[in-house]
């Protein structure tokens, strides 16, 4: 059904996309575009354009809250937002925060960035059975008892039978009140995928650069995990030599010294050779660096390695170049020059944190 608001909405989208009224774009609240907070708490961006008014500076102002805590304890959330509220005139929360699972999160990300679903390359020949908890039933093992539903049933019975006393609100579930989760067995084809993350940890990669890589790889991980059950990740760090590490080390290590990118690609090819035959696996190597390589010779070796032993077996090879004050950024140019025509190669420049979202779109926007 078409709505009256559609016209206003289209106009707003136009402004956000920068197609009309460019002068307004500067008011679009940046915030964190998509940021991970805490364990599963995620901010979802909804672009808002503030109309500037005479108003108070938020930080100097402070406010009044309600709840537990001692002076000096942090207050959750942003002040100025109200919890449940009616549609207010002119007031708006800028960033919505909510608990979502990683799967949902990936869907939202996909929707936000208009990412296509990935067409799997592997042959879906292995079928596996999976249990999914979808319903509720009256019998089941205690370990699957649904506490909330059980409690509600018990409370309902207590009230209906008149034994509920608001003074001493004691509710004792009986056998017939109990509710259990029930599951269905679903069969699904198994598709295998592996991501090989490679990162330059030479002296020129600073903490900020690593943070960018960390954030970006988190989102890539989330999206690919949504697309493939049983995604595997491998981590490779390199300066002049490459070695395989665990996830934790991957993000922490900082070495000094030179950079030989070919070492990483060689190791990557070895890993793929050993564990991931191309006909059964979807393979995604991601390489992040500041674009500073030791020598032109090494760069040519890299390109040779990619052409010969990496590209033939991957869905996509992604190279992300993080801008750093020390890096020359030459490697990206070389890569584009030699392999720019190959559609399996995707390159992206990541200038700063704000560029992460655009870069994710570069990498995943092709649906490969």
């Amino acid at each position: 059904m078409s709505l009256r608001v559609d016209q206003d909405h289209a106009r707003f989208r136009g402004i956000v996309r920068g197609k009309i009224r460019e002068n307004l774009r500067r008011y679009i609240s940046q915030g964190e575009m998509i940021g991970r907070k805490g364990k599963d708490l995620v901010s979802i961006p909804v672009p808002q354009i503030d109309i500037p008014r005479f108003t108070f500076g938020e930080r100097q102002r402070g406010g009044v809250g309600q709840g537990d805590g001692e002076p000096g304890d942090p207050v959750g959330g942003e002040p100025g937002e109200e919890g449940a509220g009616k549609a207010g005139e002119g007031e708006g929360q800028h960033v919505l925060e909510v608990d979502v699972t990683l799967d949902e999160l990936a869907d939202i990300l996909g929707e936000e960035l208009e990412l296509p679903n990935i067409e799997s390359r592997g042959k879906a020949k292995i079928i596996s059975a999976k249990d999914r908890y979808t319903g509720i039933r009256r019998v089941g093992p205690e370990s699957l008892r649904h506490f909330k539903r059980t409690y509600k049933e018990a409370l309902r019975r207590a009230i209906a039978s008149g034994s509920y006393d608001p003074g001493t609100p004691l509710v004792v579930p009986q056998r017939e009140d109990k509710r259990y989760r029930s599951w269905k067995v679903e069969e699904e084809p198994v598709v295998n995928a592996v991501i090989v993350y490679m990162m330059d940890v030479s002296g020129s990669m600073g903490d900020e650069q690593k943070e960018i890589v960390r954030m970006e790889s988190f989102w890539i991980d989330a999206w690919l995990r949504r697309q493939y059950q049983g995604l595997e990740s491998r981590y490779v760090i390199h300066d002049a030599v490459a070695r395989e590490v665990d996830r934790d080390t991957f993000f922490r290590t900082r070495e000094s010294g030179g950079t030989m990118i070919s070492s990483a690609y060689r190791l990557c090819a070895q890993i793929l050779d050993a564990d991931y035959p191309a006909e059964e696996w979807n393979v995604y190597p991601f390489h992040f660096s500041d674009g500073d390589n030791w020598s032109m010779d090494d760069t040519l070796q890299c390109i040779e390695l990619l052409r010969r032993s990496v590209l033939p077996r991957v869905n996509m090879f992604a190279y992300g170049q993080v801008e750093s004050p020390y890096g020359s950024g030459q490697f990206l140019k070389d890569l584009r020059e030699h392999l720019g025509g190959d559609e399996r190669v995707v390159t992206s420049e990541i200038r700063d944190r704000d560029a992460i979202v655009g870069s994710i779109k570069d990498f995943l926007g092709k649906g490969r």
Binding site: M1, L3, R4, V5, Q7, D8, H9, R11, F12, R13, G14, I15, R21, I44, V46, P47, Q48, D50, I51, P52, R53, F54, T55, F56, G57, E58, Q60, R61, G62, G63, V64, G65, Q66, G67, D68, G69, P71, G72, D73, P74, V75, G76, G77, P79, E81, E82, G83, A84, G85, K86, A87, E89, G92, L96, V98, E104, I108, K152, I159, A160
Partner: protein, 521 residues
């Protein structure tokens, strides 16, 4: 009644519920306009909510922005608008299709609370379209029930039509830009202006008497030395100049209705005047809701809980009701929930007046134990509640009824930004601090108080506004943009006298350059 209801989309079983609930509510003393309930699908609900409750508004992208926010948060399952009701006579309220019957009943009860509040709270008298310029008494013929003209749905639709006509002539972009200019100044209104009876003392307008320069006390022979005549002449001249300036000053008294002042005095084109007029009227329409957010939600919540638990919900529904109600009342992350604060405060007032915990004896009693068991069995609670809902707004409500005990029970605290921790931190739980901060936050609905002081500042036709600095500076970047908007309307340099980092300052924009001058204007 039947005429109104024949057009609604409300299914018959809900119409029956509505009749039943309205009967019960009326028995309980609620006094509301007729209510028209409409059943909406979620996208229609989001659309109407985006338009601030009205089916037709003037065209502007910010409604589209609001729609996107609501639609997204619904689709991601973050929030859902349960109810919406607009201050109109008859009142219109919307129910979300697909909600359970228990939820619909809850919403109906809640809505009746709101409509009773719209009809009876004095602040909303300012939204009567047939009220005189100064609202002192309710307009009503003797023996007639209060039935004001609040056809705001029509009014807003007319605004829409007027703006669309202008758009047809001058193009979307030009009009849209001017709407944004007006919205930048939207908060510069005076919600109480309709209730102020201004006595113009005519004597003041007369020629003032001979200027009498105050002299220092001196003995005769010292007079010429202590009050030298040159000095006296100089003083006399200065006082006369000041008087002269006062006489020609415009506005004669500083006014807080900046929008109204601009409408009357700024060199606007006719179409611009139309737009500014629309924005101003709508700002005044929404002002009472901003002034009574806590009370209005509290009152509606108080009544939905009373009606549901005592009369409307049956045993099979009470658990679902309680779960839902708990969701509405929840406070999370240390935020203040206006529903919760409002309902608790109303309940506390009811209990105190039932038990006679007010007045001199109560205030002067030092004995904690005596206070704890204080019960005069006056039973005045209900009566007091109805009085409070009529005569208070959030500021006066909190000021009068938020007690130290209440603040402690509710766990209220103030928070402040910590530069060291780069986060918001709990600052204090001390009663005075908390209450002062809360009142400061509610004063003028959280907007800065800004007056037009001089339309011919420095005798250059510049507009001077003054911000009553209450301890918090204005946000710098927004201030500059708002000044720019003001300049667009006034078309001459504009100045704002305020305080920046504890020093008097005048911010000025002359159409090209933003400047700041230290000191008073």
């Amino acid at each position: 009644m039947s005429k109104i209801f024949s057009h609604t989309t409300l299914p018959r079983y809900l119409r029956q519920e509505q009749e039943k609930i309205e009967r019960i509510a009326a028995e309980q003393g609620l006094d509301f306009f007729p209510v028209v309930f409409e059943m909406l699908a979620y996208d229609q609900m989001n659309e109407i909510a985006a338009y601030g409750g009205f089916p037709v508004r003037y065209p502007h992208w910010r409604f589209g922005m609001e729609y996107e926010r609501l639609a997204k948060s619904y689709e991601y399952g973050l929030s859902k608008i349960y109810e919406m009701v607009i201050n109109n006579n008859p009142a219109f309220a919307y129910l979300l299709e697909g909600n359970s019957l228990t939820d619909q009943k809850l919403v109906m009860c809640h809505v009746l609370g709101h409509v009773d509040f719209f009809k009876n709270n004095f602040a909303f008298r300012a939204t009567d379209l047939d009220a005189p310029a100064t609202v002192v008494e309710a307009v009503r013929a003797p023996g007639q029930p209060y039935d004001p003209n609040r056809k705001w749905i029509d009014k807003m639709a007319n605004h829409g039509a007027a703006v669309r006509r202008v758009v047809d002539r001058f193009g979307t972009q030009r009009v849209e830009e001017f709407i944004e200019i007006c919205l930048s100044l939207e908060n510069l209104i005076d919600p109480y202006s309709r209730f102020v009876v201004r006595h113009r003392d005519e004597a003041v307008e007369e020629e003032p008497s001979e200027v009498d320069v105050p002299r220092l006390q001196a003995k005769d022979y010292m007079e010429e030395f202590i009050n030298p005549s040159e000095f006296l002449d100089e003083q006399r001249k200065r006082i006369e100049e000041r008087r002269q300036a006062q006489r020609t000053r415009h506005p004669a008294e500083p006014t807080r209705d900046v929008l109204g002042f601009l409408l009357d005095n700024a060199p606007l084109e006719r179409w611009e005047r139309v737009i500014l007029g629309v924005i101003r009227e709508e700002a005044y329409y929404y002002a009472p809701q901003a002034q009574t957010k806590i009370m209005n939600e509290g009152w509606a919540s108080y009544w939905h809980s009373r009606l549901m638990t005592e009369h409307v919900a049956d045993a099979s529904e009470i658990v679902d009701y309680a779960e839902n109600n708990a969701g509405v009342m929840a406070t999370s992350g240390g935020r203040l929930n206006p529903y919760k604060l409002g309902v608790e405060l109303f309940r506390s007032v009811e209990e105190r007046w039932n038990r006679g915990q007010f007045g001199r004896d109560w205030d002067e009693c030092d004995d904690l134990d005596e206070k704890r068991h204080w019960d005069l069995r006056l039973g005045l609670g209900r009566e007091k509640l109805f009085e409070v809902r009529q005569l208070y707004t959030d500021v006066t409500f909190i000021d009068e009824f938020l007690t130290e005990d209440f603040a402690r029970e509710q766990g209220l605290f103030t928070f402040a930004w910590s530069n060291r921790g780069e986060r918001w931190e709990i600052e204090s739980r001390e009663f005075r601090t908390v209450k002062e901060k809360l009142l400061a936050q509610l004063t003028n609905s959280g907007q800065p108080v800004i007056r037009v002081e001089d339309a011919n500042y420095a005798n250059r036709g510049e507009l001077l506004l003054r911000h009553d600095h209450g301890g918090v500076d204005l946000r710098d970047d927004y201030c500059k943009e708002a000044l720019r908007a003001l300049h667009r309307v006034w078309r001459r340099p504009v100045c704002l006298a305020t305080v920046v980092e504890k020093k008097l300052a005048v911010l000025r924009y002359d159409g090209a350059v933003q400047s700041v001058t230290q000191g008073a204007p």
